[in-house]
């Protein structure tokens, strides 16, 4: 069969289609004009034009977190490329599949400090899973195929492909490799049988087992296997920030999130368990607190596809390298067929103890009639959306309250920058999520600081008719930093006051962009504002003027053991408990 000769730009588009890409987030510029020109008439690929390259990357990230498929970004060279770095690093830390296409100056000019030249391959080397500089148009199709393969498989991550202008202008036959095999890259999917058996046996012996699930469960799509494991063992489950929704929050075995702002119950369970089963979790410092007093009585079993995650931060007694879904399937098989215990009877005492912790110290806050408590806003968002929204967050207090007071029943409904902690992530991620799930209710739970870091993307939302809702928990401060200053810096609020009740006026900002702005200053206005925002089929900013003094509790001070939690401040008014929506 005769092959068509295509230009580099056409090859890129064809390759994206072969990889089943339908949406590209991008921003044009000099060296990528040829590619944008091809995109202009394309019927299958939709380009979402953003207002900043960082916004484009976070949108692709949000798209990827909702669909599980790589998000795709196309930007120009130099500043276009360097603007993607924060977004790429965010995706890399959270293992999000993504392919970033950057323009580059013509190959003859590379290294000459040409106009809008940046060594983006060098710059992104430590924050991509892999990256390429394509020097020959013949390499283009196989490189893009490889890029998607690497982004998707193993521990997923962002891959960058740098495209010199002359390479995208040159033409050659389109030769699409149907299969990719990289001998130096063959991620191990199935776990070693003997290690799986050993892990299952250890779990079977445990009197106080605890499952600690992380983002790997989401990446692997192992929700059913995790639920089955917990059910077989009748063992409690705690999920890290990255895994909210990977185990249903309403399940009686669920303890909430552990770590610095985790629940009392989850942290106490870790510290008292005799077996901790880490599933797709990398034991990050925000989860472990002080590592040498972490889970002191527990034998630790860790299952992860990335061998470098094992024994990196904490001691591990039984490691299993493999894809979570495969390993858990095998392990459940062993537990069911070979190790028939009466789990229910064994764990009654342990579960009773856990119930006591849960009941003695639930997540609470002090409701107030006069001033809006940010937790109240999140609680109402949960109730009014019936738990069905896709929630994105910024970083700081808003993120923690969104994790604590919204309850996640299903995976891929919680989008938050867990590893890098990127302020400005949530709003563009919400736009990407809305592209991926046009009919879903998408809400960015934001702070007044974070929202200002990518507020320009409001134009993208309005123009593309993406009705995302932004709930700004406006406390005029960089709240989490202010909280640390209050607790650890003698209430010296150095440079954390933003004055954002007035500057900017978020309602007017929304209106200026053609979106809707709503404001609540009293608790009684919260519910009507949320209901109105959800009713409108437009992007809405909800400006909730909140209590600036409110802090996130529980809190484990940095460097302390996770059972050394600061709990709620002395109660002044009637405490409200978090209620699950029926």
């Amino acid at each position: 069969m005769a092959k068509k000769k295509l230009t580099g730009a056409q090859i890129i588009l064809e390759a994206l289609k072969r990889e089943k890409v339908s949406t590209v987030f991008g921003y044009p510029g000099g060296v990528v004009l040829g590619i944008f020109d091809e995109l202009y008439d394309d019927k299958e690929l939709k380009l979402i034009l953003t207002r900043h390259e960082q916004g484009a990357v976070h949108m692709a990230d949000g798209y990827a977190r909702v669909t599980g498929e790589p998000g795709v970004v196309l930007v120009t060279s130099g500043p276009g490329a360097t603007n993607t770095v924060t977004g790429i690093a965010t995706a890399y830390m959270d293992s999000i599949p993504m392919v970033v296409l950057t323009g580059q100056v013509p190959t003859v000019l590379i290294g000459n400090d040409a106009f809008q030249e940046a060594d983006i391959v060098g710059i992104t080397r430590p924050c991509t899973k892999y990256n390429y500089l394509v020097k020959d148009v013949k390499d283009l199709a196989p490189t893009i195929k490889e890029a998607f393969h690497i982004a998707r498989t193993g521990r997923p991550g962002p891959v960058l492909v740098d495209l010199p202008k002359d390479v995208t202008a040159a033409a050659c036959d389109f030769d699409w490799p149907e299969k990719i095999d990289i001998p130096s890259y063959r991620p191990k999917v199935a776990g070693n049988k003997q290690m799986v058996r050993q892990a299952a046996a250890a779990v079977a012996r445990a009197k106080k087992p605890l499952i600690l699930a992380g983002g790997g469960v989401v990446a692997s799509g192992a929700y059913a296997e995790l639920l089955e494991l917990a059910t077989i063992l009748n063992a409690p489950v705690t999920t890290t920030l990255m895994a909210l929704g990977a185990f249903p929050a309403s399940n009686p075995l669920y303890l909430g999130m552990p770590g610095m702002h985790g629940t009392y119950c989850a942290n106490m369970a870790i510290q008292n368990s005799d077996l901790l089963l880490g599933v797709g979790v990398r034991f990050e410092d925000r989860v472990t607190g002080k590592t040498n007093t972490f889970a002191p009585h527990a034998q630790i079993v860790q299952i992860d596809i990335d061998p470098t995650s094992i024994r990196k931060n904490v001691r591990v007694d039984i490691p299993v390298v493999g894809d979570i879904k495969h390993v858990l399937k095998d392990m459940n098989g062993v537990l069911k067929s070979e190790l028939k215990h009466k789990w229910d009877a064994v764990q009654q005492a342990w579960l009773k103890q856990i119930r006591q912790w849960n009941e003695s110290h639930p997540l609470t806050y002090d409701y107030d009639d006069e001033v809006i408590k940010p937790q109240y806003v999140v609680e109402k968002l949960y109730e009014i959306s019936k738990g069905n929204a896709i929630i994105t967050t910024e970083v700081g207090q808003n993120q923690m309250w969104a994790a604590q007071f919204y309850r996640y029943e299903k995976p891929r409904r919680w989008l938050s920058s867990g590893g890098l902690g990127t302020m400005g992530y949530g709003f563009p991620a919400a736009i990407g999520a809305q592209m991926a799930a046009p009919d879903a209710l998408v809400v960015d739970i934001a702070g007044d600081g974070s929202i200002q870091m990518n507020i320009q993307e409001l134009a993208t939302a309005v123009i593309n008719k993406l009705p995302v809702k932004v709930a700004i928990l406006n406390n005029q401060y960089l709240g989490m930093v202010r909280q640390w200053q209050e607790l650890f810096f003698e209430e010296r609020y150095a440079h954390t006051f933003l004055d954002s009740h007035m500057i900017p006026d978020f309602v007017k900002v929304a209106e200026a962009y053609g979106a809707v702005g709503l404001r609540a200053t009293k608790p009684s206005e919260v519910v009507p504002v949320i209901k109105e925002a959800f009713r409108l089929k437009k992007p809405v900013f909800m400006d909730f003027i909140c209590d600036w003094k409110e802090k996130v509790y529980p809190m484990v001070p940095a460097g302390a053991s996770i059972d050394q939690m600061l709990l709620q401040e002395p109660k002044k008014t009637k405490a409200r408990r978090l209620k699950a929506v029926k």
Partner: protein
């Protein structure tokens, strides 16, 4: 403890940078690194000498394995192996010490590869201890400069994992 790690990599541009970036990004130190092509010109062999406790070395070997372009990683501490290094030493001895320099060169089975009125340049190959012994003996006589290649290493036949 000191480890000699042998790494087989794809011979592509950027690979050395990926490997060295892995060390610098995690605060691990490279004492020496040598790179060269293998029988298969698409594959290069690196020999890296580094230092760290068991946990750090475990991380280093795992992180190296994780790099897409790394084909194989062997920590040679675990196997019987041969190590060699070459050094070029430029010595500027006083007239009365010239014979001593030549004698030491012979004892260490080195060669004089360049000489001028005031200097000899000596080439010596051997393991690290031998090279250090020679340098220590020549120091009082007057070394102008020396250049070491860094270690290359290979597992002995029959012991490779």
């Amino acid at each position: 403890m000191r480890h000699t790690i042998s790494v087989l990599v794809n011979n592509k541009f950027g690979v050395l940078s990926n490997v060295s970036g892995l060390f610098s990004g995690r605060g691990f130190n490279i004492e020496s690194i040598s790179v060269g092509m293998t029988l298969d010109s698409s594959v290069s062999q690196m020999t890296i000498v580094t230092r760290g406790d068991d946990q750090i070395i475990e991380q280093i070997t795992k992180q190296l394995n994780k790099l897409i372009d790394v084909i194989k990683v062997v920590d040679l501490v675990e196997v019987d192996h041969i190590e060699r290094e070459m050094v070029l030493i430029k010595v500027a001895p006083k007239q009365e010490h010239k014979a001593e320099v030549l004698r030491l060169t012979e004892i260490f089975r080195g060669r004089v590869v360049d000489s001028s009125q005031k200097t000899y340049t000596i080439e010596v190959t051997g393991d690290e201890k031998k090279i250090e012994a020679l340098i220590n003996l020549l120091k009082p006589i007057g070394i102008k400069e020396f250049v070491r290649t860094g270690k290359v290493a290979m597992a002995r036949e029959g012991t490779a994992p």
